[in-house]
């Protein structure tokens, strides 16, 4: 009957809608490349990739959170806290305040990484429970979490940095496999796994269902609280991993690390076309979004744009990117 959809055509437009962020990214790359050819040097491209990889990992976790209509402002603080946890383990204690290993030497990177990831995940799960069970809005819970975990990070390192780790530890942030920096590979792996989970598993689809209509999700027998807690645990995990990689990259962990990562990560997710209303979007877009922010920051520096002007441009371009995305999507209705 007439009132049915010509699927192919509809799908074409839907596709275009999904591609909007990519188009914008390419445009940006072309502009920078034409203004400064050195921008395209492999070295620079890998720099960009390495630079985005850490908050990229977090942005992947943030995608889940935003898909269920949540938000997490605590990730930056979590990066700092978990990074310090890893550092304490790797150093075998805190100078003059805490000795963990008998001979005062540090522990292996495995234990350090584990510490970071456990710390992050635990913190995330706790926040998830507050959101799910106390029904406190995620914005508030994680705003609180942000200051709480900063506070904890400060008390762990007593305000100062903890630095100097062994080679094995450092490899995860500074190592290379062929021409590719390790953090980039970690980011890629995390993104790939997240993609499979979101598109191919019941949990992933439950995430979309909860984001699209929590009440209906509950009525159709989905364990909404469970999904919520899991999702916040998941971004906690990503933050912990990010914290470990960052500490390894900087060969040092400090309480002020990761400041502002929350906003960068959220920006990446939204630029990638995931809606803050939840229910629509995905990891693919987030990767594009992360790259876009990375390209932006790198390109403006490469072009010697003055710092003040840079801030203005970054703000404008981010808004433009999202506006473009929404414009395309509207056209395809």
């Amino acid at each position: 009957m007439s009132a049915t959809t010509p699927p192919d055509r509809a799908r074409l437009f839907a596709l275009l809608g999904r591609l909007a962020p990519l188009i914008f990214l390419l445009a940006l790359v072309i502009i920078f490349a034409s203004l400064q050819p050195r921008f395209l040097m492999p070295l620079n491209l890998f720099n960009i990739l390495r630079q985005v990889s850490i908050y990229g990992i977090i942005a992947v976790g943030m995608t889940f959170v935003i898909l269920i209509r949540g938000i997490d402002l605590s990730v930056g603080a979590l990066v700092a806290m978990s990074g310090l946890c890893a550092a304490v383990i790797a150093r075998g204690g805190i100078e003059g305040r805490l000795v963990l290993s008998a001979d005062g030497s540090g522990f292996s990177w495995q234990l350090a990484a584990l510490a970071a990831i456990l710390a992050g995940s635990a913190a995330g799960l706790l926040q998830g429970m507050a959101v799910a069970w106390l029904s406190v809005p995620a914005f508030v819970v994680t705003l609180g979490g942000m200051t709480v975990f900063r506070g904890l990070a400060l008390s762990i390192g007593n305000g100062g940095p903890i630095s100097g780790f062994d080679e094995a530890f450092g490899w995860w942030g500074r190592g290379m496999i062929g021409p590719v920096p390790v953090p980039v590979l970690i980011f890629a792996a995390v993104a790939a796994i997240a993609w499979v989970v979101l598109t191919q598993t019941r949990f992933g689809r439950a995430v979309y269902a909860v984001g699209s209509n929590p009440e209906a999700a509950r009525l159709s027998g989905i364990n909404v609280s469970g999904v919520t807690i899991a999702v916040y645990g998941l971004i906690g995990f990503c933050s912990g991993l990010g914290g470990f990689v960052l500490a390894s990259r900087l060969n040092s962990a400090e309480a002020v690390a990761g400041t502002g990562y929350e906003l960068t990560a959220i920006a990446a997710v939204v630029i990638g076309g995931t809606s803050l209303q939840g229910g629509t979007g995905g990891v693919g877009g987030t990767v594009i979004g992360a790259l876009l922010t990375g390209v932006l920051l790198n390109g403006l520096v490469i072009l010697n744009v003055s710092p003040y002007t840079q801030q203005v441009l970054v703000g404008l371009i981010i808004v433009a990117a999202v506006a473009f995305d929404h414009f395309i999507k509207r056209q395809s209705r």
């Binding site: 009132a3 049915t4 959809t5 699927p7 439950a206 229910g279």
Partner: protein, 547 residues
């Protein structure tokens, strides 16, 4: 012809092809419960409620209600708006927990702490307020929470799609299972909701006003489906305010009044007036008999609203829904707009009201060509619109009844301040006239029963005193008694010179209220004639038969 027979026959239509020749719809109903070929010897009792009590704000909404559902039984749950039907269902399906009484499943006591528990117990529910996933595809929405898995433990998309089309094939084969649910009309969403409940292979299926916005032949399909379920030994609890459906589909019934079960038994042993009496606890003027008031300026002078060859723009999803609609509407006239689901009625209304862009064609108001860029403009020009999607387009959740009523600003502000006292006075009038049941004007609108919400929304628009009022499914979810109040109100405003464009899937309603009736078929006006002496058969032909 009587409305009873007009829909009573619906069950029979089950036998016929989906859109076979029209007369098949109107074989008078046999007076034994439809669908159950062998006389109803029910199987063992599956679900049993005993003395259920539920309070809100310490107010008793359900007061010791008992009912049982046996395998193969189709039981009607009847009652006025606010009687407690949906609440009862919420208790049976674990949405709320009873404050007293108990549930028994297969004879042994159970407690449903969450909807999930009821789901595991094989109870599936079609909710009164649609609860779908706007962003998900139709196919996924149908299986949400129970997605089929392949042997790798991953979601089996192909299988899911196949099953989804199968589930919809009977009811609405034209729905694109890959389209997002949000792009479907209320009616279609209701069908998806039905399909969802059916795919659960449940032992108990509960339907809370599933036909509220369905038109006769969808109702017919549903009738056949229910008959099949009952034959397969599924227990069905069926809620509807359309009593002819009750007679056609159900074998037993329970009537609720003010939270108490006041009557029950075999449908065959009672009749509609008796049921109405039981629900209302008083005598109600038999439904839909009053003749329409004469129109002020019949035939003479410039029509108030004139639509010529109206068409919606070519859309991407679902193509062009309105193709060629023309009609004229005069002051004081009630123009019935009939059509099956997807015919283009709502879209026509939306275009007139400036909600959707107009493709081609012209709209003349008082002879002047108009195209409204926004509802605000349409309202300024004296048009009002009561949409069919109450939850999505009308209610202000979390706001009081008063604010929901005052939204359109019927009462002008005094010195820039809202004149709450005058608003309250106005509301009180409608409250009494429509018999609105709610704690107080200060109560949150969402705590009202579906029907009472609808009354408040109607009041909101009538209070605005529009010159033209478009009403899409005016009595959706409203009980028989209240329906009379609403009909009387519509006649009254028409008599006062307001032009009314009445969109309704309830044919008897259209026929009894309208002066003229036009029918839409796939976006084209297929007939336009005075209501006097028109038959439902004739209407159905124009609505469905391909010329």
């Amino acid at each position: 012809m009587t409305s009873a027979s007009s829909l009573g026959g619906v069950a029979q239509a089950g036998a016929g092809p989906d859109n076979g020749p029209a007369h098949e719809f109107f074989v008078p109903a046999p007076h034994e419960p439809a669908g159950s070929a062998p006389a109803p010897a029910f199987g063992p009792v599956i679900l049993e409620a005993e003395g259920l009590v539920r309070r809100f704000f310490g107010v008793t909404v359900l007061d010791g209600v008992s009912l049982s559902l046996a395998a193969g039984e189709v039981r009607a749950l009847l009652g006025e708006n606010g009687a407690g039907k949906s609440t009862m269902i919420n208790l049976l399906s674990g949405v709320h927990q009873p404050d007293g009484g108990q549930l028994r499943l297969d004879g042994s006591p159970v407690r449903f702490a969450r909807p999930l528990d009821a789901d595991h117990a094989g109870i599936s529910v079609i909710r009164q307020e649609l609860s779908l996933f706007p962003d998900l595809s139709v196919a996924e929405a149908i299986f949400a929470g129970h997605l089929p898995l392949n042997r790798f433990g991953l979601v089996d998309w192909p299988r899911m799609r196949r099953a989804a089309s199968a589930a919809l094939s009977q009811l609405a084969p034209d729905i694109d299972i890959n389209a997002p649910v949000a792009s479907l009309s209320i009616a279609r969403q209701q069908m998806v909701e039905i399909a969802r409940a059916l795919t659960r292979k449940a032992r108990v299926v509960i339907m809370d006003e599933p036909t509220a916005s369905l038109s006769p032949n969808e109702v017919a399909h549903l009738g056949r489906i229910i008959a099949d379920l009952s034959r397969e030994g599924v227990a069905v609890l069926y809620v509807s305010h359309r009593l002819d459906e009750i007679r056609a589909f159900c074998q037993t019934y329970t009537v609720l009044r003010d939270g108490k079960a006041v009557a029950g038994g075999r449908v065959a042993d009672t009749d509609i007036p008796a049921l109405i009496r039981a629900m209302a606890g008083r005598e109600i003027a038999a439904a839909q008999k009053a003749p329409p008031a004469p129109v002020a300026d019949q035939g003479t002078g410039e029509p108030l609203l004139q639509i010529r060859h109206l068409a919606s723009p070519q859309g991407l999803r679902g193509g062009q829904r309105v193709k060629d609609v023309s009609f004229a509407l005069r002051q004081g006239e009630i123009l019935g707009l009939a059509g099956i689901v997807g015919a283009g009625r709502t879209e026509t209304a939306r275009m007139i009201f400036g909600l959707d862009p107009v493709g081609q064609g012209e709209i003349r108001l008082f002879g002047q060509p108009v195209r409204f860029a926004s509802p605000a403009a349409a309202i300024a020009a004296g048009i009002g619109y009561v949409p069919e999607d109450r939850k999505g387009l009308s209610l202000l959740p979390g706001r009081s009844v008063h604010e929901n009523f005052a939204l359109t600003g019927a009462v002008p502000a005094r010195f820039g301040r809202n004149d709450r006292r005058a608003e309250a006075r106005l509301l009180a009038g409608f409250w009494q006239k429509l018999g609105i049941r709610a704690a107080s004007p200060g109560a949150a609108i969402t705590t009202l029963s579906g029907g009472n919400q609808q009354k408040v929304i109607l009041a909101r628009w009538i209070a605005l005193k529009p010159k033209l009022l478009i009403i899409d499914e005016p009595t959706r979810g409203i009980d028989v008694g209240a329906k009379e109040d609403v009909h009387a109100l519509i006649r009254e405003i028409a008599a006062s010179g307001v032009a009314v464009l009445l969109i309704s899937s309830d044919l008897p309603e259209v026929m009894s209220l309208s002066h003229r009736i036009i029918t839409l078929r796939e976006g084209v006006t297929s007939s336009d004639q005075p209501a006097a002496g028109i038959t439902a058969e004739a209407l159905m032909t124009h609505m469905t038969r391909h010329a």
